[in-house]
């Protein structure tokens, strides 16, 4: 495989540089779409009564929806400068620190920010990587912890 051009911010940027931001409105509609697309039909993601029964304040977003939305913000940004940007993502991981409550009507805003976390990293294959740190916030609360992607450069 030839080495296509990297997003220049990945190789020339400084650690801490903000690479991209994206805002997404989380609605019940999106939760139901994600349930169908992912085949994760846990009722706490669409039914308030069930959510309250298990001690939640109400319906919450799938953690994997939040991780997926942040991943899309990353790969859409990579794709802007490289048609094989998706294939550059070697690793992507997170912890789910807080659930996001999603109202029955209206929406809650998820804000995703990607920053250059570290350069001169090395993958399992010995090839170079850079680390992009992803931040996801809803209602002023950080919902993903230590969300990191290692990108082939």
């Amino acid at each position: 495989m030839s080495a296509p051009a990297s997003p220049s911010e990945l190789t020339d940027g400084a650690v801490g540089d903000v690479l991209f931001t994206r805002e997404v409105e989380l609605t019940r509609d999106r939760l139901v779409r994600y349930a169908g697309a992912s085949r994760d039909f846990n009722a706490i993601h669409y039914n308030d009564a069930v959510a309250e029964q298990v001690g939640l304040p109400g319906v919450i977003a799938h953690g994997m929806l939040t991780m997926g939305l942040a991943g899309s913000a990353l790969t859409d940004w990579l794709q802007e400068s490289d048609p094989r940007g998706v294939a550059r993502v070697a690793r992507y991981s997170t912890r789910f620190s807080r659930p996001i409550q999603v109202p029955a009507t209206g929406s809650v805003t998820l804000t995703i920010t990607g920053t250059l976390g570290a350069v001169d990293q090395t993958g399992d294959d010995g090839e170079p990587r850079v680390r992009v740190d992803l931040r996801a916030e809803a209602a002023g609360v950080t919902v993903l912890a230590k969300a990191q992607a290692f990108i082939r450069v």
């Binding site: 298990v54 929806l65 991943g71």
Partner: protein
């Protein structure tokens, strides 16, 4: 009661799930749900122009394949996991390459750890995804936190 999860299953491997056939509809519906807007997820010509065999699955799509396979272990009553008391603690993907539409993916779910931390039991599975040629495509590691009955 705490500790209902059967720790003796650590080291077990589950391979009983039929191969996952990735369809174009699967890829587009998932891309819509997670807001992946690049044409490589939606336009076969764009995907092929970028060197892929077909539509490219978004970066977290492998969880769909993994969760279906994990259910062979998680949903088995003998595992002792009460799914109504489960929250997702963490998730990790390692990709050799992206999944693409049209391929058939086989899985092996490894139970890597069952550990107790206060009222929580943490269950870590590692699902290896393999393509039709027998090559590894991705590894999906997932940790579920199961609350004890009093937590």
């Amino acid at each position: 009661m705490v500790g209902a999860v059967d720790a003796s299953r650590v080291g077990s491997v589950f391979t009983g799930t039929p191969p996952f056939e990735v369809t174009r509809r699967d890829v587009v519906a998932f891309a819509d749900a997670v807001g992946a807007t690049s044409s490589v997820h939606r336009d076969v010509d764009a995907a092929r122009a970028a060197g892929y065999a077909d539509l490219v699955a978004p970066v977290t799509f492998a969880v769909v394949v993994a969760q279906e396979a994990e259910s062979e272990y998680i949903a088995d009553p003998a595992s002792g996991i009460d799914f109504s008391r489960v929250v997702h603690a963490d998730e990790s993907f390692a990709h050799r390459r992206p999944l693409v539409a049209g391929e058939s993916v086989t899985t092996a779910v490894h139970v890597d750890a069952v550990t107790t931390r206060g009222p929580l039991t943490l269950v870590t599975t590692r699902t290896e995804l393999t393509d039709a040629a027998g090559d590894g495509v991705a590894t999906v590691v997932s940790t579920l936190a199961v609350r004890g009955a009093d937590a």
